[in-house]
Symmetry: C2
Subunit: 161 residues, 2 copies
């Protein structure tokens, strides 16, 4: 575990190097683990993460209300899985995630470890889930991991209760 | 709030008096609150709670695997809503519930307040949800409320963090 990069570091990177950000690497690893038949083998990391970015003009074209389709739910799931794994790698604690989403794409995601709530995020407009850029994706993920880590530091005994 | 009965008390009651148990009263109150057209007005509390009890022979007749139907999901929701309300009445804290259930009826329900996890229960075989008797229902509910209350007492600062 010591050889893994720290997913909570927010690096300042240009576009070509953003896939080397620890959180992005963690996300790509989880996505590629689902590629049982090797059909994404030829794809580069940028292509694998393609649909995670929704440029502003494309987002504006999306309807305000809408039911999330399975693809966007899968991406949401992968993103928060990566957050969970990154928190586990960082802290060495077992983290469990509970996610409640209504058909209309509203809900909440909760990360807990033992008696401690690490993260609690309200989910809105899940059908429009996506980031304006890969850099933003890396930054958001790393921020969530950092936040959870600070909570563990503040309540170390509850996290191990 | 002081006039409300303590829902965490587990009274020893015979069948006719079980509806006076504080947890059952709380549950009946929540169910009757959904009766916007007054169509259950004539029903006594026993009838309102009818489907919450699944006698052993009826449970045995149910298939082992099965997708939960909307009715049983509604009862599950009401039961855990009553647990949440009872914890709030008992502790005076704001409690939030996150429930994740798969289509096959497996999942988890989590009660949290601020940074503290009050209850975390794995849900299995939701399509067979029900209690062998009303007394068992009252007892199970009161036990969950008691458990949550003990957690609040153990970590009072985290529950108010």
């Amino acid at each position: 575990m010591a050889t893994l990069p720290n997913p909570a570091v927010i690096p300042v990177l240009d576009h070509d190097k953003v896939v080397t950000a620890p959180f992005i690497k963690c996300l790509v690893r989880l996505i590629r683990a689902q590629d049982a038949y090797g059909s994404w083998k030829e794809k580069c990391d940028f292509d694998v993460l393609d649909h995670f970015t929704v440029p502003e003009e494309r987002r504006c074209a999306l309807p305000l209300m809408g039911d999330p389709d399975p693809d966007v739910l899968w991406r949401l799931d992968m993103f928060y899985q990566a957050v969970g794994v990154a928190i586990e790698e960082r802290s060495g604690l077992l983290v469990s995630r509970t996610m409640e989403i209504s058909n209309e794409g509203f809900g909440r995601v909760l990360f807990t470890t033992r008696r401690l709530v690490l993260l609690s995020k309200t989910l809105r407009d899940v059908h429009r889930f996506g980031f304006s850029s890969l850099r933003k994706l890396a930054k958001t993920g790393a921020k969530l991991v950092n936040d959870a880590d600070r909570v563990i530091e503040a309540y170390p005994d509850v996290a191990r209760a």
